[in-house]
Subunit: 418 residues, 2 copies
Amino acid sequence: MATGSEGMEDVRMRGFRERASVEATLTSALDGVQPLPFEQLSVTECAGRVLATDVQSEVDVPPFRRATMDGFAVRAEDTYGASDYEPVFLDLTTSSMPGRDEGEPISHGAAGPIMTGAPVPRGADAVLRAEDATERGGRLEVTAPVAKAKNIGRIGEDVKTGSKILSSGRLLLPQDAGLLASVGVDPVQVYRRPVVRIIVSGDELLPPGDKPDGFKIVDSNSPMLAALVSRDGGIPQVVRLPDDAHEMRRALALPGADVIVTAGAASVGREDRVPLLVGELGELLVHGVSMRPSSPTGVGRIDGRPVLLLPGNPVSCLVAYDFFAGPVIRVMGGRPSQWPYTSVTLPLRKRLVSQIGRTDYARVLIVDGEVEPVAISGASVLSSVTRASGFVVIPAGLEGYGEGTDVEVHLYEAAGQL
Amino acid sequence: MATGSEGMEDVRMRGFRERASVEATLTSALDGVQPLPFEQLSVTECAGRVLATDVQSEVDVPPFRRATMDGFAVRAEDTYGASDYEPVFLDLTTSSMPGRDEGEPISHGAAGPIMTGAPVPRGADAVLRAEDATERGGRLEVTAPVAKAKNIGRIGEDVKTGSKILSSGRLLLPQDAGLLASVGVDPVQVYRRPVVRIIVSGDELLPPGDKPDGFKIVDSNSPMLAALVSRDGGIPQVVRLPDDAHEMRRALALPGADVIVTAGAASVGREDRVPLLVGELGELLVHGVSMRPSSPTGVGRIDGRPVLLLPGNPVSCLVAYDFFAGPVIRVMGGRPSQWPYTSVTLPLRKRLVSQIGRTDYARVLIVDGEVEPVAISGASVLSSVTRASGFVVIPAGLEGYGEGTDVEVHLYEAAGQL
C-alpha cells in the first residue's frame, strides 16, 4: 500500500509485483517436507491412522486346523455314498468347542460334533455340515457325503507366518485394525500426527462463540482451519492475537508445533506484518500467488518448520489452505498430498471465465447433473462455499471453460453424503 | 445343529429354514429408528457433526459497509478521468482500520487510507485500489478512476438477517463451522451421537493386544466394529464376554446404550444363545438372511433398542455390519442411511458367480481399470477385505455378472486415498 513503510515496499516488490505460480508455490511449500517419526499406538486405537512400517505376520492364521462350519468332524471316506435313502450311521464322540482343546481323535466310523472356529480333532479330514446329519438314538445318521478337506480351514491358509499383511503408508481401515489384532500386532507403529499452530490475528476479531458487535467481527477462520487440520490428520492448536508485532513474533517463533498456519495480516497493507516477520525469523519463500481467490498467500520456513501465510478473507483462507497447507500437513502425517475430495466430471451449464496466467478456483453448484457457477460478490462470502457443491480449478493456461465442457468438480461433501 | 436343544431347533426353524431377504432385514433393522434428540455443542466443536435444526442468521454479514480491498476510501466522481498522464490529487485524511471506528467522513476532494475489512467512512462511495494511487508530498496522486460502489461490501450482501444459512441434517463441513461462528451462532444444535454397545463373546477369544495362543484366537471383531461405529458417527462401547448366558443376558439388558451390536454366538450351534436371549428379553425379528457371507445374521429389539446380531466370522461380521448395523447407527445420528463408500463403475475382467435368491457381497480388486474377484478360501479370511479394493453386491435376482459387465465397486478406501 502506498502509505506503507519501505519494508512494505520491499515485500510488495518481491511478492505482489511478481506473483509465483500455484505449482511453484506448492513446490516451495512441500520442499523438504517428510513424514514425521512414528509413534506407537494400541491396536484398538490405530484405525484412521497411517501405518509407518510394513507389517509381517508372526503367526499363521488360522494357527490350527479350524472348522469353518457347524457340523461333525469325520473321516470323509466314511460318508461316501450316504444319502437320504441309504444313510450311513456313525458313532458320536465328544464335542470340539472353540477355544478348548480339540476333541478326542476321530477313528474310523466316528463323528465328533464341532462348532465353527473349533479345532478339528486329529484323525478327522472333513467337517460334515450339520444339515446333512441327524442324531438318532445316540448315533449320527449321515444323509450326504462330504469330500476330503471340506469345511476345514488349513493352518496358515489366511495368513502365513512371515508374510506381509499391510504396507507402510496405509491409512488403516476398520478391517485392518481387525487383521492386526488377529495376528497379535500390538503396539502398531503409525506416523505421528503433526501439531499445527493456527495463528489468527486482527484487532477486529472476536472469539468464536461471541456475537458480531459494531465493527468487530467474529473469527470464522480458526474453527474452519481447526476442522480442516483435523480432517487432514493434524492436531490443531489455535492462537488468536491482536494486531501486535511482538505477540505475533512470539507465536511464530515458539517451539511445540510442526507446522505454522497464519490467517490474516498477510497482504501488503500497513498491518500486514506477518510476511515481514517470517522473513526476519526465517525465510519468506513465496509471497503473492497468481491465483484467485487467495493471491495474498505466502510460504516460508522458520527453524525448518513450514509456515503457510493464508489470507484473512474466509474463502481465500479456505482455498489457500486446500492448495498449500493441506498437502504439507497430510505429507507430514504420512498421507498422500492429494486433495481429500472425491470428484465427478460433469458438463458446464454456463461458461466459467478466468484469465490467462492465473489459476482460478470457481465455486460451483451441481444442478440436474450440470455444473453452474455460484453467483458470488466477493472472496469474503463464506456462504458461497457452504452453498456450493464443490469447486472447479481453472489452470493458469486457460481463459476458462466454455458452456457444455466437461469439468472435474471436487466435492466438498463427504463421501456418502451426496 | 442336530445335537442342539429343542430351543435351538425352534430358532433354526424360524430362522435358517426360512431366510429373510436382505431388503426385508434392512426394513426390520430400520423400523421405527429415528434420529436421537439433539444436544448443544460449541461452534468450535461442531464440524463433522450433524445439524439438528435449520439455522437462520440473526445478523447481516457484513454488518457494516466494508472495504474488500486495501486502498483509499473516496468519492468515486472525484477520480473520474484520472490517468498516469493526467493524475488527480486528493487530500489524505485519517486511516480506517479493521475493528476500529470508521475514519473521518470523506468530503469532496478527500481520500482516506483503508484496509481490507475496515468500515468505509461516511461520504465515501468507493474504494480505490492501492495500486492506482501513490502518496506524494502529503497528497494522494490518483492514476486511475474507480466506479461507484467498487470494492465495498454492502451491509447484508453475504448473509441477510433472518435468512436460512444451513439446513437440518447437514453434516457440518469446516466452512460451515466458520459460517456459524461468523454469524454468532453458539451453541450449535446437533444430533446426539448414538452409544453403540459392541458385545463380543466366545471362550476362544483373547483381548486385542494379546498374541494368539494355542487354540485361543485374538478378538479382531471389537477393534474393527469400534472403528466402523466411530466412522458412522456412533460412540463405541466394547464389552467382551466368555460364552456365558448370564453375562450375555446382563450385557443385552443393561441400559446406557442406544444400539446393541453382538458379534458371534449368533448361529444355530449349541453355544449360539444370543438369538434365544434376544427373543427372551425382547423380540427376535429376523434370524438368518439370504446372503453370502453373513447368513447367520439377526435383527431384534430389546426395550425398543435395535439389536443387531452379527456373525463371529470377521468378514461376515464386517459385511453384516455394513448392511444392517451401519444404517441404523447413521440414521440415529441424523446421517443418511446410505453406505459411506464412494463407488466407481468398471468392467469385470472375470465373471462373478452368485446364486439366484441370495444377495452376494463379492470382494474385488481393481487392476488396470478392471474388476476382478479376490481369490478367497472362506468367510473367515479377514485378509481378503484388507487386500480388496472394495466390493460388488450381486442382487438376489441375479446368477452373477458376466465377464465384461460394468459393475459398481464400493471402495473401502477413504476419499483421496485412491
